[in-house]
Symmetry: C2
Subunit: 390 residues, 2 copies
Amino acid sequence: MQSFQPPRRVLMGPGPSDVSPRVLAALARPTIGHLDPEFQKLMEEIKTALQRLFNAPDHACVPLPAPGTAGMEAAIMNLLEPGDRAVVAVNGAFGGRMADMAGRAGATVVTVDHEWGQPVDADRVAAALAEAPTKVLAFVHAETSTGVRSDAATLCGLARKHGALSIVDCVTSLGGISVDAAAWDADIVYSGTQKCLSAPPGLSPIAISKRAQAAITGRKEKVRNWLLDFNLLMSYWGGEGGRTYHHTAPINALYGLHESLVVLFEEGVQASTVRHARTHEALVAGLEAAGLKMLVDEKHRLPQLNTVIVPDGIDEAAVRAHALKTWDLELGAGLGPLKGKVWRIGLMGASATPWHVRLCLTALCEALAAQGLKVDTSAVLAASDARLAG
Amino acid sequence: MQSFQPPRRVLMGPGPSDVSPRVLAALARPTIGHLDPEFQKLMEEIKTALQRLFNAPDHACVPLPAPGTAGMEAAIMNLLEPGDRAVVAVNGAFGGRMADMAGRAGATVVTVDHEWGQPVDADRVAAALAEAPTKVLAFVHAETSTGVRSDAATLCGLARKHGALSIVDCVTSLGGISVDAAAWDADIVYSGTQKCLSAPPGLSPIAISKRAQAAITGRKEKVRNWLLDFNLLMSYWGGEGGRTYHHTAPINALYGLHESLVVLFEEGVQASTVRHARTHEALVAGLEAAGLKMLVDEKHRLPQLNTVIVPDGIDEAAVRAHALKTWDLELGAGLGPLKGKVWRIGLMGASATPWHVRLCLTALCEALAAQGLKVDTSAVLAASDARLAG
């Protein structure tokens, strides 16, 4: 057993995205104790930064000590008790996962199912909410499995109208497109670090509204999950009046998250979303010049997660294998019903640059040509460049 | 908001322990994808290394993507279903936590309570197991809150005799004292990375016996926890026949764990336990020369977690504050009923060296003298040195 030296990789799958040298360097700073006064200051800075990033000045914001799925599980397990009714919009893999978890919380789960690649249909959600008193409406803002954006403001508004609490999965959206917990009046919003924040995977930032906090403190039964029980977590992260030991925070991972937030605020959150949008447009211009088609209708596309339809006769996996072998470039495969039918190309955080777009188009054209599909790489790159310059 | 530069710290609390420059450097290597073939090789190496470290060649071993508490929660939530009976030995904070979790799993929980500072009493556990059919016996091998070692071989044997599955918390023991899942015939054994492995906090290595795996696949109800559901996790970590996406593994944290295992095997697991024992003896010799007393009876003491009784008239917190301010040295406070009554001094992993022992004794003598307790620091260090040389 010897020290591990990772190979060079360019990460353009569904996450993790490329992590900048600044964030990597932060990870390697010496570990200090999780009860150290200097660490508490770091945590306060992270909490404040997350409030700013989620635009959630009145929410309690903390980074949970586990990958993005922990945010989903925490939201669902804390809000739902046996006997509660939950409406879950399912338009991809992650909506389906929410429904599974809600069942484990003991809730009565009503799913509103959609074809993969479609945004959540507000009218059908409204109908499901109108059927019976509902504790929670859960949906995914940016479906990583399909590349679809849903209308969070409208869906959170429906939840409020019907007296339900809203849970919004923003794992892939945060930092890449606008996330606005205050404007949406959302109850629980969570994300991951390995998408548009470009930190390594392993943490899940979460924001919890005052309404949600009241619902959690007023539960009849204990939360079924100890590590993610907000009643316990909030005493640990509370800040004022001393902290109660709960778990041991992942110190070095939090150094990385902190640095990624410093980097993001230096650029500006608005500037970052513009960069994601522009690189996305350049990528799509190139893909279309290559004769490829996007899965998702233009007005619902996520800039940071591009699902591209595999042309007839093309071996999907062979294209990704070529990109990995020849260009050290990781592209994503389709999940579930989209397996073998799409590629998922991530333009997230540090991976959302013109350099990445050009590398990806070059690798794709080469891989398609290797399977006999004629593509003019120069024309493809020129179309992409022109879009970026335009 | 600016980049965070941690202060210098010497970590001799209950964890995290000092992380070596080699492990810190590993954390900063470039992030690759969690489905990358090279990452899969890394994971296979970690799984094999954990089997070796737990001495669990027939157990399934994986690192869970969250702090040590996740190992506890995974063990309890996967093995227990509503209606099951669980016997939990409680002789400190972590036994109490296990009992809380078992209740959340829906089990009927019988605790066998002990005074803090005492090892688990096998006779009383046997009596509790004999009362009724029991699904799980859970206990803590090395109680971090008290510094007590319990007899894992005897307790696991009792579980087998009564047809119960055993859960053994080895968060603080692994790497510091002998952990032997095969010899104990233990069912689930778990640990953390931030104790005697000297990696940063954030991961929980776990070993699951074939009996435990059969119990989990044969459950009547779904596990109440999605992220830690072994039925799902094992498809992700399985290795053979391709992996099923579950969560996104915390890549860089796993680089750190991998490197800490390389470091440990270079030294040798046996050599590491001898080092922990010898530095512990040197620390105790110095503490006793300073007139201080240990909480735990000699034959049940953990070398890696030393609970020292605060002398009458001494302000416990002021001593720790002095050590932190003057020596950048973190010492641990007492928890629960031991709050204000003991210090907890960790000698874990990279923090278990003669240098650490001498620094700690020097800082303690100085802090005690500042409160008017006469201590001859030279004599204390000489007593400690003599024990190490002897």
